[in-house]
Symmetry: C2
Subunit: 357 residues, 2 copies
């Protein structure tokens, strides 16, 4: 008999779509701060690309003084930086919007994190130099295909304003958790843009172009735009910085619990500064208590912070548990999410309802 | 470079809970009628059991004429029967109840099917004989543990009324899809009860006992009972036969589709008789059309029937697609589900809402 009763304890990614491959991290079952690449969420607009099988070069051109092709070897020998960065899909938690919106119905797991190692984009741009008038840096991936908004196939490509491109922690990464970045997550080179939603962190970089104008590609002028109005484009503005946010990992929503002491635990994160406070309500918002925040190891954090709260319900019944986080820029999660037509940036209080039996 | 762009097309089970192991079939991404055991949903009340590593015997005792121990060898050499049977968790679709209920929040995938081969329970009971007064047959599994309703650990055990135990297609199965049943799905012997919700199909059979009384175990007097009332047990009755039901597999809920011809496809099933009709509405119930049913190969079917419907939406916008199935006993899916406190037997119209862009 082949018995392997414990292999069952391993979770898997949750498939939202197979073509293109879109899966979320089983965040409720993750107990670590560093996500193995197998459990890293996948968000693709297109099929996985065919990469050049040899002679990979990274072109950096446009309004630069010295257009250059960098080999991987060259890049690996440049001064490197390793940063713990959370990547969160702008559509994370989309399924919780009311009224409901269209698109991949992400739950709470369209986010993952780990250690990214690479060279700073700033360093490459120092090597090429910037011409007067450099305004944006366009990063194009090898992935391409059809998108509803445009007739011809397009590459996945996004621009960064020059200040963000030159930020000392914006990386051209080649390692994730001490290994080459896995194919599905951007091998051999992936842009890592801390503090922005992850559509900015372009995978499988094909080329980098410095622009003296504003790029208007579909992934920043059609998708990844907040449209507050259901019908018109009035008030639209681009998706950039990650909102202050938190999620309950345990207990599960609609879980039946025994009486006695319960550990409520989860994570909190923000794109501006640091998480400074996480508050819990076990009575659907009537009263709030502070959760215990895990120690912050790094001086600058682009990662989530775990928190926990001990709770001893004294009576049987139903309880709605809420959580809200605050950051060092005095941002606080709202009770009501900012509804927008494409469903980006959901960050209302997280909540689960449990029953004590 | 290791490129395996196509491995991404394989779905995985969707974890609902890790301890005990509860995962659902990614039904939306399944295109076959026969589910590989890797994609078979898992519903456990307890940890996986430790089985006897040798000398497996199946005791059949109680109010029988000749109590017996059957070896696996003996069972394998008895006349066998192979039946295509759908197993559906009684809590399948629980997450769609409104008001929401507690327990595992199953979507549409707590169901799977394939070919089960075994000896009929009837045959074993013919070999032992039944004493006068035999009323129920109790089947006990090797899995056990604590359950909220009872102080001491209990085995997973369920009884069948004698008529259902003697039904010619109630099997003591040892193969699934031409292979020994996999450990996680009941190796070496699993009871298969066609047409009943799958709590009846006890895994890892430890023993069979014929009773002259009514069994009152927690998995049939506490769980797997319909409680129509939110607070009291008034009107409670046991969960048995599978309701007539259907699910849309394609398109996905909240999917954004291009204009042009769409194939809507899915499955329909029932615990009584055969599926005779599947109706589709693409205008949220104002008008209905008949879907095309796949040919029925077997004369008796305990499996789902696939259906499809070609639809050409002529205008952009949002569409709510509904489906309802009817069976040969004139059962038809209701518009409003039968709400019950523990959330069993959901079978209201299935629905998805899509946007044509």
């Amino acid at each position: 008999m082949v018995l392997d009763p414990f292999s069952s304890e391993k979770p898997t990614l949750i498939v939202r779509k197979l073509q293109p491959d879109n899966r979320e991290t089983p965040l409720h079952f993750i107990k670590t701060d560093i996500i193995h690449h197998e459990f890293f969420y996948r968000r693709n607009h297109f099929s996985y690309p065919y990469l050049p099988t040899s002679n990979y070069w990274l072109p950096v051109n446009g309004v630069v003084v010295h257009p250059r092709l960098f080999s991987l070897e060259e890049i690996f020998h440049m001064p490197s930086k390793t940063v713990k960065v959370l990547l969160e899909c702008a559509g994370n938690k989309r399924r919780f919007f009311k009224p409901k919106v269209f698109g991949e119905q992400w739950g709470k797991g369209a986010m993952s994190q780990g250690y990214w190692k690479g060279v700073t984009l700033r360093h490459l741009l120092e090597l090429t130099g910037l011409k007067h008038g450099a305004k944006e840096v366009l990063i194009e991936g090898y992935d391409f295909g059809k998108t509803p908004s445009i007739e011809k196939p397009v590459s996945f490509a996004r621009s960064l304003p020059i200040e963000k491109a030159l930020h000392p922690d914006t990386l051209i990464a080649y390692q994730f958790n001490d290994q080459p970045i896995s194919f599905k997550h951007g091998y051999p080179l992936r842009l890592i843009v801390p503090q922005w939603y992850a559509m900015a962190s372009v995978k499988w970089i094909r080329q980098i172009t410095v622009l003296d104008d504003v790029f208007k590609g579909p992934f920043q002028s059609f998708d990844y735009v907040y449209y507050p109005d259901k019908k018109t484009d009035a008030g639209a503005f681009p998706v950039t910085v990650v909102n202050v946010n938190s999620s309950i990992q345990k207990p599960l929503n609609r879980e039946i619990l025994n009486q006695g002491r319960q550990l409520i635990r989860g994570i909190a994160w923000t794109g501006t500064g640091q998480i400074t406070k996480v508050e819990i309500s076990t009575d659907n918002g009537s009263s709030w208590s502070q959760a215990k925040l895990a120690a912050q190891n790094e001086s600058t954090s682009y990662a989530w912070r775990t928190w926990s709260y001990e709770w001893t319900p004294h009576e049987k019944g139903e309880y709605t548990i809420l959580v809200k986080a605050s950051d060092s820029f005095h941002r606080i999660q709202p009770k009501i999410p900012f509804w927008n037509r494409k469903g980006y940036g959901f960050n209302a209080y997280d909540q689960v309802t449990v029953k004590i039996e």
